[in-house]
Amino acid sequence: MVSNIYRERDKKRNPMPKFDSGLLLPELADFFEKSFRAQNQLSDYTLIESSPATLNGAKGLRVRYRYTLPNDELTRLGEARLAVVKGKLYVANFYAPKLHYFDSHLPEANNIMDTLKF
């Protein structure tokens, strides 16, 4: 497991936030937001809700969010699950355009997250 969610492609111009295993549960949502913003160069990201959830049986967080990509007016939604196991962060993330795609694929995504093993 790497120390950041996304691989750092340009350390100098677009550094990725470093994961710290000392982060408290609610802070995983903050860390996810910073990483997701940096990875996608987002200016527009809104946390809808973060709440307790499990991932592979571990206590973790479910993060529901809304965002838009630069130069694109589509509203997009996402749902991620994060858990820290033995100091390592595990993330499962599903995101799609709100219109047509997100709701129709969410049950399938949730099913995968519910049964994910690592």
Binding site: D44, T68, N71, D72, E73
Partner: protein
């Protein structure tokens, strides 16, 4: 001018900050700058973008980034930027460029041009809305600077442009230093540069500001502080949650130094430190949060910040007290369930 379909899509885009009071306020500053007889040509939209930028399209659509508002310290400073963009519009700069390339004169073609200017072909993607910016040549930039300054000179505002360019250079230095990038030499531009350098702008604006009468007028600083403090989280979100710590800290500090620190601005700085999260940052962040709640304007999230930083640094007991206070102040916050779970453990 009529609003066409592309602009309607733009207006409804989620990247637009929908705040009527802010739009009215910005239109008011533009009108005071360029004159009430001219300003009606512009329709202002505020875009959620942390970068310093504004633009105006040939059809009158004017874009102001939240990142621009975060970096301004008064109506007078803002008037120099709005005046500059309006200058491009009055001089028909983009239209000239447009015709030279023999594209149509419709709005969609302009979008295609803007895409070409930003290096992305936007006409190829369906649903694309350009939030990019038109690029002008160096002479046009300079002309717009001087026309903008002339507007300000005949407006009720004093001319305050050089300070903006000085701070942009300092912010860039701060970013480069942190990222261990080479600092820019801010001398004369090379043959391929499309803009006057910040140093050149600083120099000619300083000269204009030294002219008799240029400093007369009211900066509109208090009004600016009030209108932007109201929406501070919106205009600072991208900076605080971005990955340019030094640049963001520079922008926050310079606003505090110029306009004073209220609870919300200090909270914003605390968030920046907590989110970077070096061990030393957590202690600094907690101090900022604790000071913020003694000032007017601190949000409930300041107690969240105190709680999290206290717990991170081993002060679990006080941390839990602060988190309970946060839940009491914001019972329906979007992370209350996660906070409750932390409290139970």
């Amino acid at each position: 001018m009529e609003m066409d379909e592309a602009e309607r899509g733009f207006r409804d885009s989620p990247q637009i900050l929908h705040d009527e009071r802010l739009k009215t306020y910005l239109s008011g500053v533009l009108c005071k700058t360029v004159g009430f007889d001219r300003c009606g040509a512009a329709r202002i939209y505020v875009v959620k973008d942390h970068r310093f930028n504004a633009s105006m399209a040939p059809n009158g659509l004017m874009i102001v980034n939240t990142g621009l508002l975060a970096r301004m310290h008064s109506e007078a400073e803002l008037s120099t930027v709005l005046g500059h963009e309006f200058g491009h519009f009055e001089l028909r700069h983009s239209l000239n460029r447009f015709r030279a390339l023999r594209k149509g004169t419709d709005w969609l073609a302009w979008l295609g041009m803007a895409g070409a200017a930003t290096g992305n072909d936007m006409t190829a993607t369906q649903n694309a809305i350009i939030l990019g910016f038109f690029s002008y040549n160096r002479e046009q930039e300079k002309d717009a600077d001087f026309l903008g300054a002339a507007y300000v000179r005949s407006s009720p505002y004093p001319l305050r442009a050089s300070a903006v360019w000085k701070r942009l250079a300092e912010e860039d230095d701060a970013t480069r230093e942190e990222r261990k990038l080479r600092k820019l030499k801010r001398a004369t531009p090379g043959a391929t540069d499309t803009h006057p350098t910040g140093a050149q702008r600083f120099a000619y604006f300083s000269q204009l500001e030294a002219e008799i009468g240029a400093q007369n007028g009211d900066d509109g600083q208090e009004q600016f502080r009030e209108e932007t403090s109201r929406i501070l989280p919106d205009i600072f979100a991208g900076l605080v949650k971005g990955n340019d710590f030094a640049g963001a800290d520079y922008v926050i500090r310079s606003r505090g130094d110029a306009l004073g620190w209220d609870g919300l601005l200090l909270h914003t700085r605390a968030e920046l430190y907590r989110l970077r999260g070096n061990p030393r940052d957590l202690i600094t962040a907690r101090q900022f949060y604790e000071k913020a709640i003694t000032l007017p304007g601190a949000p409930p999230e300041s107690w969240r910040g105190i709680g999290l930083t206290a717990m991170r640094t081993g002060d679990t007991e006080n941390g839990k007290v602060a988190l309970k206070e946060y839940l009491a102040k914001a019972p329906t916050s979007n992370d209350s369930a996660a906070i409750k779970m932390l409290l139970e453990n």
